[in-house]
């Protein structure tokens, strides 16, 4: 391919590829020019051909219009159907959420009925054992005096001000070790199998996301709890964090704290022994 000469006569360094040139330059169908050239050679068209030309034109333009109209119609029809699908899916989600809510409400109503029936039967014997075990298993809401610990990450958004799940585990273990009788993290009551994990930037307590600033409530004798909590490793670590990285770490004694019940254990494989235990 010979290099086209630039305006100054020097060969151009980067000749345009022929394909791009033809796409960008020949926007008009070459057929028109050829037809015009043929007409120019054979003189003006006779009247009969002229009429046929009009027929072609009207039919062709009618076809073009039909295509445009049908396409507009089809697009207008399919857009609402996509919207309908979306709305239907949203409705399904809302319905499922409402069902969850109503089932949870029903479960707590039934729970209350069970408890009142138990109370009617009297507070001695096996039922006393049941409620004691329920309390020990964190299955009943509790209240009492205790410590409230508020933890928040540093505001500056730097990596050094981030509180990790391992830190919180240490802190909560410190509270248990200091004699706390019931602990909740971010409003989620801890039970025997509770976990504190991290998923990305979020902290999950028993797979429930909790939000910063994190409130940790521990029920127990406030002064005794405080004294032994101060000497735990978790407290020392957070005190150091607070002074080094400027995170928030407040410990206050409260005379009245309430904690919700933890969800019951999901026993899928374990079954109770039938005789005696």
């Amino acid at each position: 391919m010979p290099e086209p000469a630039g305006p100054s006569g020097a060969p151009r360094r980067n000749p345009r590829p022929a394909l791009l040139t033809s796409i960008l330059g020949d926007t008009l169908d070459p057929g028109y020019a050829e037809a015009a050239a043929r007409r120019g050679m054979s003189g003006p068209p006779p009247a009969r051909r002229h009429l046929a030309g009009w027929g072609y034109l009207v039919l062709g333009v009618l076809a073009v219009g039909l295509v445009l109209g049908i396409a507009a119609r089809a697009t207008a029809q399919s857009a609402p159907s996509a919207e309908r699908t979306r709305a239907a899916l949203l409705g399904d989600v809302h319905g499922a959420q409402q069902r969850i809510d109503s089932l949870e409400a029903r479960a707590s109503v039934l729970d209350d009925q069970v408890r009142s029936a138990q109370a009617k039967l009297g507070a001695t014997g096996p039922l006393a054992t049941v409620s004691a075990l329920e309390r020990a298993g964190a299955m009943l809401p509790v209240q009492g005096p205790g410590l409230r610990v508020v933890v928040d990450m540093a505001d500056d958004g730097s990596d050094s001000g981030v509180v990790l799940d391992a830190d919180l585990q240490l802190l909560v273990n410190g509270l248990w070790a200091s004699g706390a009788e019931a602990v909740s993290v971010g409003g989620v009551r801890l039970r025997g199998t509770s976990t504190i994990r991290q998923a990305g930037g979020a902290i999950l307590v028993d797979n429930t996301p909790v939000f910063w600033p994190l409130t940790i409530d521990a029920i127990g004798d406030p002064s005794a709890l405080h004294v032994s909590f101060v000497s735990t490793e978790g407290f020392g670590r957070f005190a150091a964090f607070a002074s080094l990285y400027d995170i928030r770490f407040d410990v206050t004694a409260r005379t009245h704290l309430t904690e919700p019940a933890a969800p019951g254990p999901d026993l899928r494989f374990a079954t109770a022994l039938t005789s005696g235990g």
């Binding site: 796409i23 028109y32 037809a35 030309g53 009009w54 072609y56 062709g60 009618l62 219009g65």
Partner: protein, 110 residues
């Protein structure tokens, strides 16, 4: 003049007659629309260039729609249908743009 009336008539018929579009045609409809627009603007420009020819107009429109549909159909069979329809839209879009620019130069002399 008649051409404009026919165009409007076609659009109105398409809009209000509710022709049902078979499912197998639906993927080719956008391509057909682009080809139709290309034909319309190409014809308009040829008219302004005083080289318009009705037969060329109709034949090029029909052939472009068929070829574009064939390319997309082949692409669908090979698994690159959406890419090929993008290619068709780009090429025809550039032509439409160039023709509209030529029409603009004719009308506004700028």
């Amino acid at each position: 003049m008649y051409a404009a009336i026919a165009l409007v008539a076609g659009i109105v018929v398409g809009l209000f007659l509710h022709p049902t579009v078979p499912d197998w045609i639906a993927p080719y409809l956008p391509i057909a629309v682009i080809a139709a627009l290309d034909a319309v603007f190409g014809g308009l420009r040829a008219r302004l260039d005083r080289i318009f020819d009705a037969k060329v107009f109709v034949v090029s429109f029909v052939a472009n729609v068929l070829v574009a549909a064939l390319i997309v159909f082949l692409g669908d069979q090979l698994g690159v249908g959406s890419q090929l329809s993008t290619a068709v839209v780009v090429v025809l879009g550039i032509r439409i743009f160039g023709n509209v620019a030529a029409i603009r130069r004719h009308i506004f002399k700028a």
